[in-house]
Amino acid sequence: MNKKEILIKINQLYKIFGKDTSHALELVKNGMSKDELLEKSNCVLGLNNINLNINKGQIQVIMGLSGSGKSTLIRHLNRLIEPTSGEILFNNTNILDLSIKELTQFRQNNMSMVFQKFALFPHKTILQNVGYGLAIQGISKDVWAEKSVKWINRVGLDGYESYFPGQLSGGMQQRVGLARALATDAEILLMDEAFSALDPLIRSEMQNILLDLQNELHKTIIFITHDLDEALKIGDRIAILRDGSMIQDSGPQNIIMNPEDDYVSDFIKDINRARVIQAKSIMSPTNTKSSGPVISDKMVLEDILQIMSDAPSKPVTVKNEAGKVIGKIAMPNLIEGMKRPKSQGTNITG
């Protein structure tokens, strides 16, 4: 991976729900908060000056508490919701300027969506569900049926073509949702809490399916979740929303090591740091080899600890994917990495 190419550029996007939004927009631009706005003008602040660049071929996670505007933001990308002001550039065309006809084309060809509550068509078979995006483009049945069978098999539902969604379990239904979104070959995939309704085991399975597919397909995925473990597992970048504003947008390691403020710290305080922090985040940069074992820069703390416990005094050498030495880790680095950043309070009890 060298230079990252930006596919979607969101510039100064505002969304206000309610009447007289232009007046409310002025108030928000002058710094009025969400609560204040609701009280003063009876408008709900959905999105507040969002600026975000989404890289081609990457998974961009969007996180935030309930009501922070995640669903609102993702629905702007395919204009299921119209903004109050701002622009969204896709390959340098503003999505918000598209005519109805162009928008329909855009939705059919460039973007597809997976929903939290599956939103399958209950009266259509699995085959018809998966083929829906193609069928409404006027593609002949032979073609779309063949493609949907391929995708149904790809998500592991061979033989379920003629079932109805109501006959499948939640996890299977979301596989159908995923297959339906993939079947149109759109390069952008929008996933609004796609796995939140599933129980933990199935969710983890679905995450693996998604990562597998992504390795092969290199789609640009916008993935919403409020589960940090999920975000860390699949995200190439993580953006955090709060009350409609974007608080932080950075790589996963950076979110854990350098949270922007208390809201973000709060988000990350419950994760198992030893399992997610990687060698490259805690190493001291150097290019000379040390006496101890050599590890990859993606190895997590837990595993490094295991290796170092054999010879605690010897620092380990960190190499990147290309095999070049990029740093070393000694015991103090490990301890520093385990510590929560900022003064979050260590909660000594008992």
């Binding site: 299921l80 939103a119 068509f121 829906y132 409404i136």
Partner: protein, 295 residues
């Protein structure tokens, strides 16, 4: 303080003038346009007469076979089939065959008319809140106004006969299809519609591919209600010249023929029950994909 105890009503002669002017205005209207309106409904009359003749002239075994076939296609139920057979045999045996055929013809035509006007109206209501606000009170009026009251202008315009009877039946019977079409479409899960939108479906693709199929069971409940109400209206419609089972009932009422009234009344009830069971069973079968969720 007189006005406090006595309602300050309009003067007698003024009131009479007021009513008269309305009557005359409408009479003038019907004199000038009555013929045009009659011509407009001419095809409907021909349609109705054609059906009636078809039903009456076809030999009874063929009719019964046809009805049994339809009942089977609709319900797939042996008991309904046997019930239907016995009912029609008894109706024929007691000499009510021809009247029953006339009634069937008018019910059929009325239902076709109600569906072809009612469903598009319901779709328009579901699409636009403004249309809904306008149509709902009209439906309320159609359902609550005593049927004799709207018979007056219909008869003034078109005289006595089959077409005014048919129109009266339709006015009375159409509200359920309209209401339930509107309701059924509005009740379709918003999330599913959003999914259709996200794949770039247009209005018609959403309407025919998602909304109508999902609303179909509800719409069908409306059609069932419409048929029931059309049957209920048959007696009143016979007052203005519709042939069929209503006519003997009317004669029985004015002459106090108990047996005649009961027999023809029961024939209407039997028709109603058959229609109801068959259409309900059909409605249930349309929801097959839903039932399988529960298993």
């Amino acid at each position: 303080m007189n006005w406090f105890f006595q309602f300050p009503e309009m003067g007698r002669s003024e009131l009479r003038e007021f009513k008269k002017s309305i009557d005359f205005a409408f009479r003038d209207f019907s004199r000038t346009y009555g013929e045009n309106i009659e011509n407009f409904f001419e095809p409907l009359l021909m349609f109705l007469v054609w059906f009636e003749k078809l039903f009456i002239n076809t030999p009874w075994p063929i009719i019964i076979a046809g009805i049994l076939l339809l009942a089977w296609l609709g319900s797939r139920s042996i008991s309904i089939l046997i019930g239907t057979l016995i009912s029609f045999l008894l109706i024929g045996y007691f000499g009510m065959w021809e009247d029953t055929m006339s009634t069937l013809a008018i019910i059929l035509v009325a239902t076709i008319l109600c569906i072809s006007i009612g469903i598009p109206t319901g779709i328009a209501m579901a699409r636009s809140d403004r249309v809904q606000i306008i149509v709902l009170p009209i439906l309320d009026v159609m359902q609550t106004i005593p049927s004799f009251v709207y018979l007056i202008p219909v008869v003034m315009l078109l005289g006595i006969g089959k077409v005014p009877g048919l129109i009266a039946v339709c006015i009375y019977a159409i509200p359920p299809v309209v209401r339930l079409t509107n309701l059924g479409i509005r009740l379709v899960d918003k999330a599913v519609l959003e999914a259709a939108d996200s794949f770039g479906a247009n209005y018609w693709q959403k309407l025919f591919g998602v909304q109508m199929p999902l609303a179909l069971p509800t719409i069908f409940a409306g059609i069932n209600q419409t048929i029931m109400m059309a049957l209920a209206m048959v007696v009143i419609a016979s007052m203005i010249g519709v042939k069929g089972l209503g006519l003997p009932v009317l004669r029985a009422v004015s002459n106090q023929y108990l047996a005649l009234g009961l027999m023809n009344g029961l024939a209407i009830v039997v028709l109603a029950i058959i229609f109801d069971r068959v259409t309900q069973k059909f409605g249930l079968r349309m929801q097959k994909y839903r039932k399988e969720i529960k298993d």
